[in-house]
Assembly symmetry: C2
Homo-oligomer: 180 residues x 2
């Protein structure tokens, strides 16, 4: 694995736990067994690192979404794939969505990072609108897409806050049932 990938892995793990300011160059250097000055070689400024991380996260997320909905033929199948991907990120990594956390911290982020987060959410909305029933009026599509996205992100936050992943399933099952 390349050094940049190792750095992004370490940064993602740390950032998804404590946020943007919980990641330092020295932490990443220790995690990857190099010196902090070498981290700066790959990512001169912290916002370069943050921006690259959001880009990679977003790409992986939508690649997985595309792969896991390749054979989906209904809104419900698409939504179940959406739910499962987010659930996996919560349970497997024991952390919330990178962009969910950075979105909450938005006002304290470098603008290049904040823009990446905004783009991630806009793509999410577009995808959700695209898989909702064609019978649904556009305004209703927008509302449902936003509700599903906010609900899934909020569900992750709530599950971690109360230390109970069951609430994620309860919430997202209900959201999907209310949509289809």
């Amino acid at each position: 694995m390349s050094t940049t990938e190792k750095l992004l892995d370490a940064a993602e793990t740390r950032m998804r736990k404590g946020g943007y300011n919980a990641v330092s160059f020295r932490d990443l250097a220790n995690d990857t067994n190099i010196k902090s000055s070498s981290v700066h070689y790959h990512y001169p400024k912290k916002e370069d690192l943050g921006s690259a991380l959001v880009e990679r996260y977003s790409k992986q997320y939508f690649d997985t979404l595309a792969a896991n909905t390749k054979t989906a033929t209904s809104t419900e199948q698409n939504l179940r794939a959406f739910q499962a991907i987010i659930r996996h990120a919560l349970v497997q990594d024991d952390a919330i969505c990178l962009c969910g956390l950075l979105g909450a911290e938005r006002a304290g982020l470098p603008s290049v990072v904040a823009n990446g987060v905004q783009h991630f959410f806009e793509k999410n909305i577009k995808w959700l609108e695209s898989i909702l029933s064609e019978n649904m009026p556009d305004a209703q599509k927008t509302a449902s897409a936003n509700t599903l996205l906010a609900g899934h992100q909020g569900a992750m936050m709530l599950a971690r806050s109360t230390n109970d992943n069951k609430v994620f399933d309860i919430i997202t099952d209900q959201l999907i049932a209310q949509t289809i």
Copy 2:
């Protein structure tokens, strides 16, 4: 206004923008025109400050909720008050919920602060369950309460992330319509 109140005000403003690590003793000292050592006099450790802030925030939140639902006679009236309080926090303060942000950062917080956040959300769930229709089965109450809370918190995050408060109204209107 007392110094501790001024300090908590300054801390709340900063923390609700950038998170726990975006607040420093020197920032608060400058905001309140005292020295950082004097801040330590009132809150010896940062976790004391964080904990006191979450306590005050939670108290104000539930006090307002109680006051604004005093004459409410239906689930819808209660939910509209709930929605309005959160909306006010988003629009007026141009920031998301303190506990929503700290909940996202939970893994990086001192445990005393994380516990305060958890308690805040548990109280929210209990209140929401208490105002839902008595005809509703308990399991359904729990699901709806969690969905409403996660949805409102996620809606704040999404509104700030996309720089568009309209999505808050769209999401929360839909959530309430789906519940009553």
